[in-house]
C-alpha cells in the first residue's frame, strides 16, 4: 500500500528541465507543477519553450537534465509510448487524426481490439469507441470518416481517444485555434466536465481571454526560462502580457489615427455559388477595412476571389471608378493588389528560399535585366525592406524557414509592397504570432496606411478587428450582414457578434 500521507499534491512535477539544441538554449531549469483536477495554462511567446517542454513530457524529445515526477513517483519518459502508458495524452493542433480513416479507427490506432484469429475486431472497436464518444457527449458515429467532421468535432474525437487511453493528464495545444465561438464554448463545457472527473489539463493558448475564462493557474515561460506561476484570479491581462514579453506594453493596439481619403475600390454583385452571394462594398484610400466572420462565413473566399486566386461567378470590380478585370493572381498584382494569405507557411512564403528570393518572388520582372536576375539589385531592395520593416534576420540570404513567425510574416508584407501594391489584403495577419510581434505588425499597418496604402484585414480575433479597423464588414454564410463605421459610432463587440451570427444589422 502506498503511503497516502506521502502522496504528492501534484499529479505532475517537472523539475529543473533543461534542453539545448546544438548549444542553443531551448529550456533551462524550467519547472512546472500540475495539481489534480486543475486546468493549468502554459503561456509564452513563440519560441519561449512551451512546445519543447510539452514534447519532452510526451516523449517526442529527450531532456538533457531535470526530473519528471508523476503521481509522486519519478517517471522515465523516453518514447511517446512511455508517456501514454503513464496516462499523459497530448492533443496537437493538427497532427492527431488521419483524415481518410473513420473515427473509431483513429481512436484505436495502435491498439486495435482483435478477434481470436488476430484480425481487427471492427465491431468491438466501434462499440468501445461509442462508449468513449458518449462520455464527451457527441452525436456523430464511430464509423464516420474524420474528413467529414468539423475541426471542433475532430478535437472531440481526439479527446475521447485520450480518455480511452486512460489519460489522467491531457495537454491541449491551441485547442481553439480553428473553432468558432460557439464551438469553443462547447469545448470549455467539456473541459469543466473533465476537471470535475479529476482529470488535469495543460492548456496552451495565445488567446489570453480564454485563459482567464477556463484556467485555474498559469505558468509563464520566456526565452526558455521559467518566469512565474500564479493563480489566474490573482492577476490581470496586462500583468500577464508583461510577464510574457518582459517589458511594458502600454496597450495591445497602437493608437489609430486614420484619415481615409477618396473611395478607391468598389466591388459590386460579387457572387459564387454556395460560397458568396451579393457582395458589395467599397474601400477608401488609406483605410483599414476589417472583415469579421466565423470560420466558414466566406471571408477568405471573398478576398481570394477579389485577388483572383479563386474563381467567382459574378462581380464587378472597379478601381478609382474604372472597371478592371481580375481572373488570376497575376491580374490581381497587376492592378495593385497584394495578398498576405492565411496559411503563411504553405501559401505566404517559400520556406526553402532566402529572404531576398521571397521578397522579390511576386515581382521578379522588376529585378530582371536582359532576361537575367540582377542579384545586386535584388539584395539592395531586400535590404531596404529588412531595414524599413525591421525584419530580424541574420542576412538577406538567410533561409526563411529559420525565421520566427512574425518575421516570416513581415517577409510576406515586404513581398506585397515590392509589387507596388496599393491595396493590401491581410488574411489573419497575426495568427500564430506572439504578442510582441503582433504589436509590430499593427504598427506596420498604421504606417502603411499613413503612406497612402489601403488595407483589407480579415481576422477571427474580435478585439483585433475593433482595435485596428476604421470600418468593419461582417459576414455570415457568404453574405455581408453588417457594416460598422468607427467614424460614425464606436465599434461594439455585441453588434458585430450579432451580425456574425446572422442577424442583419439595421
Amino acid at each position: 500500500m502506498p503511503d497516502l500521507e506521502k502522496r504528492s499534491d501534484y499529479i505532475l512535477e517537472m523539475k529543473d528541465i533543461s534542453k539545448f539544441f546544438f548549444g542553443n538554449r531551448a529550456l533551462e531549469n524550467v519547472h512546472i507543477e500540475i495539481e489534480y483536477g486543475e486546468v493549468h495554462a502554459l503561456v509564452g511567446e513563440n519560441g519561449a519553450g512551451k512546445s519543447t517542454l510539452m514534447k519532452i513530457l510526451s516523449g517526442a524529445y529527450s531532456k538533457d537534465s531535470g526530473e519528471i515526477i508523476l503521481d509522486g513517483a519519478p517517471a522515465d519518459i523516453a518514447t511517446p509510448q512511455d508517456s501514454q502508458t503513464l496516462g499523459i495524452s497530448i492533443i496537437y493542433q493538427e497532427f492527431n487524426l488521419i483524415r481518410g480513416m473513420s473515427v473509431s479507427e483513429n481512436m484505436f490506432l495502435g491498439r486495435e481490439p482483435r478477434t481470436m484469429f488476430g484480425t481487427i475486431d471492427s465491431k468491438r472497436r466501434n462499440e468501445e469507441a461509442r462508449k468513449w464518444l458518449d462520455r464527451v457527449s457527441v452525436k456523430f458515429k464511430p464509423t464516420d470518416l474524420v474528413q467529414d467532421l468539423s475541426s471542433a468535432q475532430a478535437q472531440f474525437v481526439a479527446i475521447a481517444q485520450a480518455l480511452s487511453k486512460g489519460a489522467k493528464l491531457i495537454i491541449m495545444d491551441e485547442p481553439t485555434a480553428s473553432l468558432t465561438t460557439k464551438e469553443t464554448e462547447t469545448l470549455f463545457d467539456l473541459i469543466r466536465d473533465l476537471k470535475s472527473q479529476g482529470i488535469s489539463i495543460i492548456f496552451i493558448s495565445h488567446h489570453l481571454d480564454e485563459i482567464f475564462e477556463i484556467c485555474d493557474r498559469v505558468t509563464v515561460l520566456r526565452d526558455g526560462l521559467y518566469v512565474d506561476t500564479s493563480k489566474v484570479s490573482d492577476i490581470d491581462k496586462d500583468s500577464l502580457i508583461r510577464m510574457m514579453v518582459g517589458r511594458e506594453l502600454s496597450n495591445e493596439f497602437p493608437p489609430r489615427m486614420a484619415l481615409p481619403g477618396e473611395p478607391l475600390l468598389e466591388v459590386k454583385d460579387m457572387s459564387r455559388q454556395d460560397v458568396l452571394s451579393d457582395i458589395r462594398f467599397h474601400l477608401r484610400k488609406g483605410e483599414i477595412l476589417g472583415i469579421y466572420g466565423l470560420v466558414g462565413s466566406g471571408r477568405t473566399e471573398l478576398v481570394r476571389a477579389l485577388y483572383g486566386a479563386d474563381r467567382r461567378d459574378n462581380g464587378d470590380i472597379a478601381l478609382g471608378g474604372a472597371p478592371v478585370e481580375i481572373r488570376s493572381p497575376h491580374d490581381g498584382i497587376k492592378h495593385g493588389f497584394g495578398f498576405l494569405p492565411e496559411e503563411r507557411k504553405l501559401q505566404g512564403v517559400i520556406l526553402g528560399m532566402s529572404v531576398a528570393n521571397n521578397v522579390t518572388l511576386a515581382a521578379m520582372d522588376k529585378i530582371t535585366r536582359y532576361l537575367m536576375i540582377d542579384e545586386r539589385e535584388e539584395l539592395k531592395n531586400t535590404e531596404h525592406f529588412v531595414h524599413s520593416l525591421n525584419i530580424k534576420t541574420p542576412s538577406a540570404h538567410t533561409v526563411v524557414q529559420t525565421l520566427s513567425g512574425g518575421n516570416q510574416q513581415k517577409v510576406v508584407v515586404a513581398k506585397c509592397i515590392f509589387t507596388d501594391a496599393e491595396i493590401l489584403i491581410f488574411d489573419e495577419p497575426t495568427r500564430g504570432i506572439d504578442v510582441g510581434a503582433k504589436y509590430e505588425i499593427y504598427v506596420l499597418m498604421n504606417e502603411l496606411t499613413k503612406s497612402g496604402k489601403s488595407i483589407i484585414m480579415i481576422s477571427s480575433d474580435l478585439p483585433e478587428i475593433i482595435g485596428m479597423s476604421d470600418r468593419v464588414l461582417v459576414m455570415w454564410e457568404g453574405r455581408i450582414t453588417g457594416e460598422f463605421d468607427r467614424a460614425k459610432t464606436p465599434l461594439s463587440q455585441e453588434a458585430i457578434m450579432k451580425a456574425a451570427a446572422g442577424e442583419v444589422a439595421a
Partner: protein, 330 residues
C-alpha cells in the same frame, strides 16, 4: 444508405466502369468481326488474366508500398534475381530430386525476394533516404546480382515438371481449367486484401501514408511497419519471379525488366494515389485487368506491338485523367 462510406471507393468504381466499357466495346467488335465472344471464360481467364497475372502479383505488393507513401522500383530486378536463384537450384544444384528439390528451390527464390525487400525496408526505415532512391539503388544491385550470378547467360532447359509453376493448369474438368499463375494471383490477391482490410499491419500502412507523425505519436513502431511493407513487396516479386522462371523454362537475368512501371500503372489506374494514403487492393486488381484487356484487345484488333504501345500510353493517361480531372486553378 450511408453513401459517405461508399464515396471512398469512387475511384475504384470509375476504374471498374472503364473496365466494363472496354470489355463491352471489345465484345461488340469481336462479335461483329469474328462472330466470337470476347467475354468468355477462355478469353478472360486463359488469355487476359494469365497474361497479366505475374505482374498483377507484384502490383498487389506495390499497392502497400504506394499506400504508405513510398514506391518500390526494385521489383523487376527482384523478379530476375529470385528467378535465377530458383532456376540454378532446380537445374545446376538440385538439393533433392523431383518436387522435393523444386520446393527447396522455390523457397529459396521466395527467400531471396523477401531478403531484397528486407534490405529496402531497412534503408527506408532507418535512413532518411527516400523510398524512391533507396529502391532505385537496390534495383541496380539486384539486377547486377542476377547478372553476376548467371554470368549474363540464361539458365535454360529447366525440367518440364517444374515449368508447370508458370505454364501449367489446374484442371477441374475437361473444359474448365485454371492457369497456375492465375491461381497464384488469386491467392496473393486474397492474402493482400486480408492484410490490408483486416489486420493492423494494413491499417498502419494506410495511416503512415496519410500522416506518419500521427502514427508515430500513437505509439506505433513505424520502422517495423516499413520493413514489413517492403518485405511483402519483395515476397510478391519473389513469387512472380519463380513463376516467370517456370513460364520461360529458364532463369533469365533480364527477366522483369520495366515491370515496376507496369505494377505502378496497375495501382494508379485502379484508383491508387501515387502520393500515398489511398490505395485499394481491389482497385489494383481492376487496374491490372484493364491493362490486360487493352493488350489482348489490341492484339485482337490486329494491332502491331508498337501501335499497342502508343495506345497503351494514352489509355493510361486518360484512365488517370478521368478520375483526377482537369486542373481548374486560374
Amino acid at each position: 444508405m450511408n453513401l459517405k462510406k461508399y464515396r471512398y471507393y469512387a475511384p475504384e468504381f470509375f476504374a471498374f466502369i472503364a473496365l466494363l466499357t472496354l470489355c463491352l466495346l471489345l465484345e461488340w467488335y469481336s462479335l461483329v468481326k469474328f462472330e466470337k465472344s470476347f467475354i468468355s471464360y477462355d478469353n478472360l481467364v486463359i488469355n487476359v488474366a494469365r497474361q497479366v497475372s505475374l505482374n498483377a502479383i507484384i502490383a498487389c505488393g506495390m499497392a502497400f508500398a504506394i499506400l504508405s507513401g513510398g514506391i518500390d522500383l526494385s521489383v523487376g530486378s527482384i523478379v530476375a534475381f529470385s528467378g535465377v536463384i530458383t532456376a540454378s537450384l532446380v537445374k545446376n544444384h538440385p538439393v533433392a530430386p523431383g518436387w522435393a528439390g523444386y520446393s527447396v528451390a522455390i523457397a529459396a527464390g521466395l527467400c531471396v525476394g523477401t531478403a531484397c525487400g528486407f534490405l529496402n525496408g531497412l534503408i527506408v526505415a532507418y535512413t532518411k533516404i527516400p523510398p524512391f532512391v533507396a529502391t532505385f539503388a537496390t534495383m541496380s544491385v539486384a539486377r547486377g546480382s542476377a547478372y553476376v550470378f548467371t554470368n549474363g547467360t540464361p539458365i535454360s532447359g529447366l525440367p518440364a515438371a517444374f515449368n508447370e509453376v508458370g505454364k501449367g493448369y489446374l484442371r477441374l474438368t475437361e473444359s474448365w481449367r485454371i492457369p497456375i499463375p492465375v491461381l497464384l494471383w488469386l491467392a496473393v490477391f486474397f492474402a493482400c486484401w486480408f492484410l490490408l482490410m483486416r489486420t493492423r499491419f494494413g491499417r498502419y500502412a494506410c495511416a503512415i501514408g496519410n500522416n506518419v507523425d500521427t502514427v508515430r505519436l500513437a505509439g506505433i513502431n513505424v520502422r517495423k511497419v516499413y520493413i514489413k511493407i517492403y518485405m511483402l513487396v519483395g515476397l510478391c516479386s519473389g513469387i512472380s519471379g519463380v513463376a516467370q522462371c517456370g513460364r520461360l523454362s529458364s532463369g533469365q537475368p533480364t527477366a522483369g525488366l520495366n515491370w515496376e512501371l507496369d505494377a505502378i500503372a496497375s495501382v494508379v489506374i485502379g484508383g491508387g494515389n501515387i502520393a500515398g494514403g489511398r490505395v485499394t487492393i481491389f482497385g489494383t486488381l481492376i487496374g491490372a485487368l484493364i491493362i490486360g484487356v487493352i493488350n489482348t484487345g489490341l492484339n485482337m484488333l490486329g494491332m502491331l506491338y508498337y501501335n499497342q504501345l502508343i495506345v497503351k500510353g494514352f489509355v493510361m493517361i486518360i484512365a488517370v485523367l478521368l478520375r483526377s480531372g482537369l486542373n481548374r486553378e486560374s
